[in-house]
Symmetry: C2
Subunit: 412 residues, 2 copies
């Protein structure tokens, strides 16, 4: 049996590296007598690569080769990845991908095609890099009704926030450092605006709650508006600011899903997750809270998740994984503003004492918080839990203050 | 298809509860048209139980019923669990167990019998309660060579240590509270002496490193000698004392495995694991560190892991899980004293200044640490990393001091 790898970038070359390095033990784990790499598809030239005899620029070489039973897709992007993967599944080949954009946009469609053609479409590496999360949710927690899922899903933004929290570095400096370290792309938009985290929470929510959740339906805020001033207040509150993607099963067959910076209190298992690490909390009805922690990105961690899926495909050539991931539904994801939350608010005011009185009058109980070097015209507070829409209306009604930052407070 | 449950204690009754409560979604996940509970084996009477028509006291009812394809063993203990499970596997039934004593002592044997009879022997619930760990190690991390595994594997001792650390409660008071809360047995020996954690690290090490590790070969220390004085020094060092089970692949085809209290520094992902929670760190060559966190015990968490294994058996009736767990070997587990470690030492001395000088002379660099209300004749220090045997020899050579506590410092 042969495999092919499409896309020889960071992850793709990592897959080839891990596959060849641990080849003996991989063969053993597959229960196959033979499992080898036959093709690497990439439009670029790699004249000095040790696997140079395996390169092809023609997708049809892979599609039409009956000896290739498993194809790894690590090209990224929606097109032509979607067309390639569809064709391969229809040709009776199993596909393993690390492409979260593809899974978030086309997961249901591709799983259906895989199902019709009696092959597997696996995507463990699409969320949390090498952290085992897709398989534990679909198999190990199968006896649970999952109520909620929340996580630090993007290593780049977590690195930036960690530098802001621990080194008092500005957002711009931290972003620059992330780029220098290779943690952030030259164009960091997908990370810092929360799109990457959004794709991942869509995949997790689709898996946990059984209906496809599209990125467009999920309210998404990035971390570009988080300031060192916010970080300092939140530190005095006993918490940290993290970019959290979360989704929750509501009582009425609907779900909520949001990506935004959140205040996470120190006692939470998500508070101590630093640098490029990711952590995902799953709340089930029988198990309670379970947390999965590890490197959410990087060449070898992600590659190891891809190769584990390859082993799974090779081990069980006649078996389809059942994910229970159905089509979406209109208005399945409710307006996040209808949900209860507490808010951290940083604001300025001409007359702080008057402003605080007005805040107390409108919100009832609030907790004021201070920081070192606090400007005379600035203050911050945390509200009680209430429907977000109401909280925002209350905030808007206070003419004495000018809100600068409004950050949700997480309840786990 | 039918299942049977043997042993209607905490876990067994939890299995029945979770199985019946989530029956519809379980059936769906199995891809079976029917999967029902047929027998509950227990020698006790449960006249008011809603499932009372399913009880039997005769093991042969289950063994001889061809409709029963999956049997859950939640009786605990080695005998007759081992004889029952062997017979069932030989009769072509898959068995799911939460019994860590059974798996730690007979895992290789039972997996071999299962293999010969083309059925499954699954034991996800035997380590970490409901935390997914067995399947992630055997499947998701399959592309990794696992180098090391370490964890807080026993909820009872972690609760006791948490009370000592956070509430300044004595060991005896904390144990009493654990018993009142139902976290500790009337006879707490297996927990507080580390035997339970030892069985779990044996199962994990067998799985990660491929050869059966027997509890007798693992040096095991409990937490009964940990004092509030140690806790206070370690707190000032920036750490906490945790009962850690760990196993490590050595270069020479051997492994090390130890269970003992350890100093865990605050930056570790294991430091923030409180109360009855468990956490397991796996270090792989490609993935780096991954941590799994959750409730390591309790009726519903453990039951949910058992039921997930039942679903797996029902889903894949013709498929054997490959664990790669082979027979043991002589001298496979090396003497823990041959390994490098740092040590925390609390000692008394008649002349503290003279004692400190002697310590410095023998050990070279050490870090002294103080605490509130430190008695005049007591002091504490942490050594550098060195072979444990050498460190102990050095300690024994210092006639000026009388060591009261010697605790390993963990390096993760």
């Amino acid at each position: 049996m042969y495999i092919a790898v499409m896309g020889y970038g960071t992850v793709g070359s990592g897959v080839v590296e891990v596959f060849l390095k641990n080849h003996d033990s991989i063969i053993k784990k597959c229960g196959q007598s033979q499992l080898d790499l036959k093709y690497i598809l990439d439009l670029r030239d790699f004249p000095n690569d040790p696997n140079k005899d395996k390169f092809t620029k023609d997708f049809n070489d892979i599609l039409n080769d009956d000896e290739v039973k498993i194809v790894v897709e690590t090209m990224g992007g929606l097109h032509p990845a979607f067309e390639f993967v569809s064709s391969l599944l229809k040709a009776g080949k199993s596909v393993v991908t690390s492409n979260k954009e593809l899974v978030a946009a086309k997961g249901y469609e591709l799983l259906s095609i895989a199902d019709e053609n009696n092959v597997n479409f696996l995507f463990e590496a699409s969320v949390g890099g090498g952290i085992p999360i897709i398989r534990p949710i679909s198999q190990c927690l199968a006896a649970n009704e999952i109520d909620e899922i929340a996580g630090i899903l993007n290593g780049t933004t977590n690195f930036i926030l960690t530098m802001m929290i621990e080194k008092n570095m500005s957002f711009d400096d931290a972003l620059k450092l992330a780029q220098e370290n290779g943690y952030a792309e030259k164009d960091p938009t997908a990370d810092i605006e929360g799109h990457d985290a959004c794709r991942k929470i869509c995949i997790l929510a689709s898996l946990c709650f059984g209906k496809h959740v599209y990125p467009e339906s999920v309210h998404t805020e990035g971390i570009t508006k988080v300031t060192l001033s916010d970080v300092a207040y939140v530190n005095n509150l006993g918490g940290v600011i993290k970019l959290i993607g979360r989704a929750k099963r509501l009582g009425n067959g609907k779900i909520s899903a949001v990506v935004s910076p959140c205040v996470v209190m120190a006692s939470s298992q998500l508070a101590n997750v630093s640098d490029v690490f990711n952590a995902i909390l799953v709340r089930g009805d029988a198990i309670g809270d379970v947390v999965f922690y590890g490197r959410g990105a990087g060449k070898l961690p992600t590659a190891s998740a891809v190769v584990a899926d390859v082993i799974d495909c090779a081990k069980h050539t006649n078996r389809k994984k059942i994910f229970g991931w159905g089509p979406s539904e209109d208005d399945y994801v409710v307006d996040y503003r209808e949900l209860d939350t507490a808010l951290f608010v940083r604001a300025t005011a001409d007359d702080i004492e008057k402003a605080k009185k007005a805040v107390k009058k409108v919100f009832g109980t609030v907790k004021f918080v201070s920081r070192d070097n606090q400007p005379e015209n600035e203050f911050a507070f945390v509200t009680d839990n209430e429907k977000e829409k109401e909280l925002i209306a209350k905030l808007d009604s206070i003419s004495e203050i000018k809100p600068c930052s409004v950050i949700r407070v997480s309840d786990y």
